[in-house]
């Protein structure tokens, strides 16, 4: 009797209709796609995007050229060269981050004693050549100026956990 029932059930495609019912319900379910350029997903304050070099409010560079970030970087994306500036202070003459190597781990920001190198929420910096993906000191400083407000806010929110 039960085998008869089984044969009947499988011929009426009972289980298959169960599956079809599931997909049929999803046909009308709300869609989860984010229409990217028009919509963006929310970001955490700890979002790790493009890097920025920061300045103090008086315009002085925060970076003390300690090279800790270069040492911490697991993918060796950071290249730093150092020379004393006109006041005799240590200063970077070259600070490149190769965005093709970077894995956005955030170790550089973690290692930095002066909160000079940070990662911003900005991530739309695609380029058409490899050269354009190596961010130099000037570009990073500029990005820092542009994002300073957001950076300060995010760092402030993170302060009590550090």
């Amino acid at each position: 009797m039960s085998s008869m029932k089984e044969i009947f059930g499988s011929f009426l495609l009972r289980e298959l209709f169960g599956g079809l019912a599931v997909t049929g319900r999803y046909l009308f379910a709300p869609k989860t796609t984010v229409r990217y350029p028009e919509e963006k997903i929310p970001q955490s304050p700890r979002f790790r995007g493009l890097h920025a070099l920061r300045r103090y409010p008086d315009g002085e560079e925060r970076c003390v050229a300690c090279k800790l970030c270069e040492a911490a970087c697991p993918s060796m994306a950071i290249t730093i060269e150092i020379a004393p500036d006109e006041n005799g202070k240590r200063c970077t003459t070259r600070y490149d981050i190769d965005m093709m190597k970077c894995i956005f781990c955030g170790f550089c920001a973690e290692a930095c004693p002066a909160d000079a190198i940070v990662e911003t929420r900005f991530y739309e910096y695609s380029a058409e050549s490899r050269d354009a993906l190596v961010w130099t000191k000037d570009m990073l400083l500029e990005n820092g100026e542009r994002c300073e407000e957001q950076i300060a806010e995010d760092l402030g929110r993170d302060m009590k956990y550090r």
Binding site: T23, F28, K31, R35
Partner: protein, 349 residues
């Protein structure tokens, strides 16, 4: 219409006029069909997307409506690569072999009472014969590509198509028994008669209800015949990519168009044989082409729905289903229907 015919015959002579008129009719069938194929691909991507809570293509034009045109243009502009060692002429002929039957079969499909390109008496036989030719396209494509994977795909689908053709043929025999004709128009008209049709609910007297097991077999067989998921062994993109592995550009798109054209064709045949063709489901509505179109659309959507739902069969399961389940079921139901027709409870008198 008559005036036009008279004028044409005077201008061109009867013989030439007939050729010209037939050609015009062919264009009238093929062009809308190609448009349907194009938008079927979009519908497929949309429906599968929705079922996966995605949106589907929506970038080209409003709601992605120009997507098929963009796809077509892209394929047109691509190079047709002919692999070294391939049998060039067979390689290029294979896509034609697979698309030609899918288009030629439309000759006998009736769109409305008497609206058919070739009203031949052996319509069903012609359909069976011409759709079987499609398998050559697949086999030749696999064989001539000089690639093991394409060859395997071709072999798989040859075995699969032949197996399911038998089940399909047997289920058509049952339809043929109850409708007493090979002419598709007569088959539709025969479904409009019977006990339930007299009561005004004619959709209950269509073939799908009295021949239900055969209807199920036929519906599954056409999914297998058109190489659609869950029977897409011939493609099997996770293991062997399939018989069209080496094809690119326009040649590839011909296979694609052939697949969708034969989907539409099989849906049309299913609607005609089992779902009453152009007949309206309730006696109170007039019959007409729109009913056929609606039925084709429903069958097509169920094709897509099935593809979005089920994973691919294993190959031995496909073969088992074809040979050990469908063929015996068809033969058994043939006997049942034979006895039923001879008994006093026959519903086909």
């Amino acid at each position: 219409m008559d005036m036009l015919r008279q004028f044409g015959q005077d201008m061109l002579g009867p013989a030439v006029f007939m050729v010209a008129a037939t050609l015009a009719k062919i264009v009238c069938i093929t062009l809308p069909l190609m448009l349907c194929v194009a938008y079927l691909t979009l519908l497929e991507r949309k429906i599968i997307g929705w079922m996966q809570t995605r949106l589907g293509p929506n970038r080209v034009g409003p709601f992605g409506l120009f997507q098929p045109l963009a796809d077509g243009l892209k394929l047109l502009l691509k190079e047709i690569v002919i692999p070294s060692g391939a049998d060039k002429w067979v390689f290029l002929a294979a896509p034609v072999f697979s698309i030609a039957p899918a288009l030629a079969a439309w000759a006998v499909v009736p769109f409305d009472d008497g609206v058919v390109l070739a009203d031949i008496n052996a319509g069903l036989l012609y359909l069976m014969a011409i759709t079987s030719v499609g398998v050559y396209g697949v086999v030749l494509a696999g064989w001539s590509s000089n690639s093991r994977y394409a060859f395997l795909g071709g072999m798989r689908s040859a075995a699969q198509l032949i197996s399911y053709e038998i089940a399909m043929g047997l289920s058509l025999v049952v339809v043929l028994m109850v409708s007493n004709s090979l002419n598709l128009g007569d088959i539709v008209n025969a479904q409009g008669k019977g006990l339930f049709a007299g009561m005004g609910v004619s959709f209950l007297s269509w073939n799908w209800l009295p021949l239900f097991p055969v209807f199920v077999v036929y519906m599954v067989s056409i999914v297998a015949e058109t190489n659609r998921a869950p029977f897409d062994m011939a493609e099997g993109e996770s293991e062997i990519i399939g018989f069209h592995l080496e094809y690119s550009g326009l040649a590839f798109s011909l296979f694609y168009v052939a697949e969708y054209a034969s989907m539409i064709l099989c849906s049309a045949i299913a609607s005609i044989l089992f779902l009453g063709g152009w007949l309206s489901p309730l006696g109170c509505f007039p019959d007409g082409f729109h009913w056929l179109a609606a039925k084709i659309f429903i069958v097509l959507v169920s094709f897509l729905w099935i593809r979005a739902t089920f994973p691919r069969y294993r190959y031995d399961q496909v073969m088992r289903l074809g040979w050990k389940v469908f063929i015996p079921v068809c033969i058994a139901w043939m006997g049942v229907v034979g006895i039923w027709m001879m008994s006093p409870w026959s519903v086909w008198k």
